[in-house]
């Protein structure tokens, strides 16, 4: 197993195992279960953000809007139209894919900051539609009594533990899919676009189409997260589509580590718990939390995973250099540095010295 030697994947595995075991300790604590489950719903949307932002390098600020579409799709179909959860969930996923693709058609004509703020406007329009179109969405009254998933008589999803594992399994699938995308030729295409769009275009990559796919995929994950969120929480209001959600997701991904596999999950969990922890400060918690957010962005710009990855890389590099020195005293050190440098991209040259 080569994967076992990769510290990044090992870390991911550790996070997953810890999370999988969480219900053993928290099963009786509804509060902790709820916070973790809701956090995982957000994490799914954050994995979506990871595809468009982390892999492709395009900052989409519509993710909260897609999350809201997912939540309202499931919420409205299971209540006003009395569909079963699963059929509503699948239709909602298809729906967000369609909306995401359409939005992408216009949004991806713009670039960089224009793209960011344009998608922010899209997200805000989605929010306005949800909070104003009273006859369909019930506006501020919200959607009450969203159905639990049907367990077919085998599993009772009203139990928080069952719900936890449902979201957990879907989260794992989403993580695997994003991981697979990254490894696939599509993923490499996206990474090329992140590095340089012009270059990608020049070497024959279908830039527009690839970006379009990435945007739709990120919207779909947003919709999945939102749909699960609706059933976990049971009541949804327009705040589930608000711009604050987008910034929350962005914070999760930034704290965890952009473009990494474990980052979004770790970031979602840590920030969620940080927010809960500082609840005791009530109104004044943001006097503390605000500067913490700023400090994290400044001092750990590549997120926790990036930071830990840096430590691991440095250590393995030191080992390699030491090994090289031991085995062949006359070997050129530049050669070793260059080699390890290619393995660990993103580490600045200063650190090797």
């Amino acid at each position: 197993m080569n994967a076992l030697k990769n510290p990044r994947l090992l870390g991911m595995l550790a996070v997953v195992i810890v999370l999988a075991a969480a219900p053993i300790f928290f099963a009786e604590q509804n509060y902790a279960m709820r916070v973790v489950t809701v956090g995982m719903c957000a994490a799914i949307a954050v994995y979506g953000l990871n595809i468009i932002l982390g892999f492709t390098g395009q900052l989409s600020l519509a993710q909260g809007g897609f999350f809201g579409i997912g939540a309202y799709g499931v919420g409205l179909l299971t209540t006003d139209f009395d569909w079963s959860f699963w059929s509503a969930f699948i239709v909602t996923i298809i729906g967000t894919a369609a909306v995401g693709y359409l939005c992408g058609l216009i949004a991806l004509r713009t670039k960089d900051e224009y793209f960011a703020i344009f998608t922010m406007a899209i997200g805000f329009i989605i929010f306005l539609v949800i909070s104003r179109w009273e006859s369909v969405t019930h506006a501020h009254s919200g959607v009450n009594n969203v159905k639990f998933p049907e367990g077919g008589g085998i599993i009772d999803f009203e139990s928080p533990v069952a719900m936890f594992y449902l979201v957990f399994v879907i989260l794992l699938i989403c993580i695997y899919v994003t991981h697979a995308i990254r490894r696939s030729s599509v993923g490499r295409t996206l990474l090329t676009i992140r590095t340089s769009e012009d270059l990608a275009d020049a070497i024959g990559v279908r830039v527009g189409f690839s970006k379009q796919l990435a945007f739709a995929a990120s919207a779909v994950l947003g919709g999945i997260g939102g749909g699960l969120y609706a059933t976990v929480v049971g009541f949804i209001g327009p705040d589930s589509a608000s711009i604050d959600k987008t910034f929350e997701f962005l914070m999760f991904i930034l704290v965890g580590g952009m473009g990494t596999v474990a980052g979004p999950l770790l970031g979602s969990m840590i920030v969620t718990f940080l927010f809960e922890l500082f609840q005791d400060f009530q109104a004044y918690r943001f006097i503390v939390l605000g500067p913490i957010i700023v400090a994290l962005v400044i001092f750990a710009p590549r997120g926790i995973i990036g930071y830990l990855g840096g430590i691991v890389d440095r250590r393995s590099r030191k080992q390699k250099i030491a090994e090289a020195r031991r085995t062949a005293d006359g070997a050129s050190p530049e050669y070793d540095t260059a080699k390890s440098g290619t393995v660990t991209s993103g580490i600045d040259p200063e650190e090797t010295k």
Partner: protein, 288 residues
């Protein structure tokens, strides 16, 4: 017709406020290349400081705005030094989140100092003017006039004064400007300070016709972003035209269609314009 005149003036007054707030934001974008999401929070702080000097200390209205504007200039410089300067080499995602962090901080701070209650700032400027049958309050006329004066001064400052020209130079070519001896760091500080100062003037003007609350900047924030994107990021004429156009579109759609559409019109126009011209109306050559 009276209604139309009335709403035109209401739209112009609103446009003045939007412009003053948008120009600062677009300047910051031109120089630092960051969308400063904390701009609305600076506007809010400016309003509270004006309130503090006018009501609590008791200095005259114009002086209160002036003192508050200078203090916010310092806050802006501090924000640049403490938050944006260390991030100058990071992608704009980081700026956005850092700015959101700063915004949370400012809002919580204002609530801690002044409380969550709405505050009313009484203006010494009272009375109405009757123009073509419409009742226009004097404060709104003041807003329009001051906005025009400040915009003219700003244009003079950027085009004619040494410090202002450095802003434009950095906007046009950062590397070239540093080669001829302009310090980009200083210009960044100056620009953020200036944007906070302009936001304070806008806030000081609009506060008497509205209420102060720690979240008063939120609604403005999104609209101002729509304006500068519409006008083209970093473009001064774009921000001015965009500000007045959106304000008038907003009041007119709210009057003749519905208030819901009025609220969304800024974003609908934005989506429509960008779908046709993805770089905004007044595009500057975007440099990296």
């Amino acid at each position: 017709m009276t209604l139309f005149i009335q709403q035109l003036f209401n739209g112009l007054a609103l446009g003045g406020v939007y412009c003053l707030a948008a120009i600062g934001l677009t300047l910051v974008f031109g120089v630092l290349r960051i969308p400063n999401l904390a701009h609305g929070a600076l506007y809010m702080l400016g309003a509270y400081l004006t309130y503090f000097f006018l009501t609590t200390i008791g200095v005259p209205y114009i002086a209160a705005i002036g003192i508050a504007a200078i203090m916010l200039f310092v806050v802006g410089v501090g924000l640049e030094r403490l938050v944006f300067h260390p991030l100058r080499n990071s992608p704009h995602t980081h700026h956005m989140i850092a700015a959101v962090g700063a915004m949370f901080f400012f809002q919580a701070l204002a609530q801690a100092i002044w409380g969550a209650d709405f505050r009313r700032m009484d203006t010494p400027i009272t009375g109405e003017l009757r123009i073509l049958g419409a009742e226009i309050s004097a404060q709104r006329i003041v807003i329009i006039v001051v906005a025009v004066i400040v915009l003219a001064l700003l244009a003079w400052f950027i085009k004619r004064s040494i410090h202002g020209q450095t802003i434009e130079a950095i906007e046009q070519d950062r590397v070239g400007a540093s080669l001829v001896g302009i310090n980009p760091s200083m210009v960044s500080m100056l620009t953020l300070g200036l944007s906070a100062l302009l936001a304070t003037i806008a806030a000081g003007l609009v506060a008497p016709i509205n209420l102060l609350s720690p979240t008063m900047g939120d609604a403005l924030n999104l609209k101002v972003f729509a304006i500068i994107i519409l006008g083209g990021l970093g473009s001064l004429p774009g921000a001015i035209v965009g500000g007045f156009a959106l304000a008038i579109a907003e009041t007119m759609t709210a009057t003749y269609i519905s208030s819901g559409v009025g609220e969304a019109v800024a974003f609908i126009v934005l989506v429509a314009v960008l779908a046709i011209k993805p770089t905004g109306l007044f595009t500057k050559a975007v440099q990296r």
